[in-house]
């Protein structure tokens, strides 16, 4: 157990929770910077729509959430769980006996989906 790591992780989780609360109340308008890639290039990045999607989700509109960014809505929670397991292992100084690992084919599928999604949403 590393106390310093536990403090950092707690702060990060509190920050995320606060941001989620603020997003739920304000819709992110006025205080969130928005997507830098989109501002610079005018194109959507793979994560564009996640703010709107999360806002919709926090208001119980699941269908809308998936419409804004279906790929992100599936992958982000998965990645958060996978990362969470690793972070818990990192905090306690010893890996947990299990992990969320998509394997080499899974990882390749995720990569392809991500690229196709990114290119596709800007072309179609």
């Amino acid at each position: 157990m590393h106390k310093d790591r536990a403090i950092w992780v707690s702060l990060a989780v509190l920050g995320l929770a606060f941001a989620a609360y603020m997003l739920r109340e304000t819709g992110g308008a006025g205080w969130m910077p928005g997507c830098i890639f989109r501002k610079v290039t005018g194109l959507d990045c793979p994560g564009c729509g996640m703010t709107r999607g999360t806002y919709a989700l926090l208001h119980g509109r699941v269908g809308d959430a998936f419409r804004f960014n279906p790929v992100g809505m599936v992958l982000l929670p998965l990645a958060m769980i996978g990362l969470g397991i690793e972070v818990i292992g990192w905090v306690r100084g010893k890996r947990l006996p299990f992990s969320l690992n998509p394997g080499r084919w899974g990882a390749t599928v995720i990569m392809v989906v991500m690229i196709v999604w990114w290119v596709g949403r800007n072309v179609v």
Binding site: C35, P46, G47, G72, L75, A79, L100, P102, M111, M114
Partner: protein
């Protein structure tokens, strides 16, 4: 430099050199247990490594006999489960791609996806290199994002300050 060690046929690690020394000192890693780090052509019994012998944390290995019970991995091939040990940074890459809004994250994902494939084909050096690249691009994406946030914050403060003057 990360070390890997083997206990009862199970692959463990990575650990730092300091941690490995501590494990040697406490008896958790025995002189007969096999250890390996990147750059070593083969797994070696812990007690045979000069760098640890010099510290006196490891008892010397008898020239013969004691190693009989240890399953020796074949040449530079890796025991089962080894591929799990090279971090692929896949989840980190996905999180930065989606949350930090940084196309660099996609580059990280490409490297992350290569790690396990290369390791599965026995290209451990390539897998380690891909792992390092993935980590680098995750760091670059986070760094760019933080820098952009800082610039955004500065402009926001200037705007607020400017509007309060007028």
């Amino acid at each position: 430099m990360s070390w890997y060690y083997s206990k009862n046929g199970t692959q463990l690690g990575p650990v730092t050199e300091q941690e490995l020394k501590a494990k040697g000192g406490s008896g958790e890693v025995l002189a007969t247990d096999l250890v390996w780090k990147e750059g070593m052509p083969d797994w070696l019994p812990f007690g045979q490594l000069a760098e640890f012998q010099a510290l006196g944390v490891v008892p010397q290995v008898p020239a013969s006999g004691a190693m009989g019970s240890v399953p020796m991995p074949q040449s530079a091939a890796y025991p089962a489960g080894y591929t799990q040990q090279i971090p692929n940074y896949l989840w980190q890459s996905i999180v930065v791609t989606i949350l930090c809004c940084m196309p660099f994250g996609v580059v990280a994902i490409v490297y992350a996806a290569k790690v396990d494939s290369l390791a599965a084909h026995g290209d451990i050096a390539g897998a380690n290199a891909a792992s390092k690249s993935a980590k680098t691009w995750v760091t670059v994406a986070v760094g760019c994002w933080l820098a952009a946030l800082a610039i955004y914050a500065v402009f926001a403060i200037i705007a607020i300050a400017g509007s309060s003057i007028h």
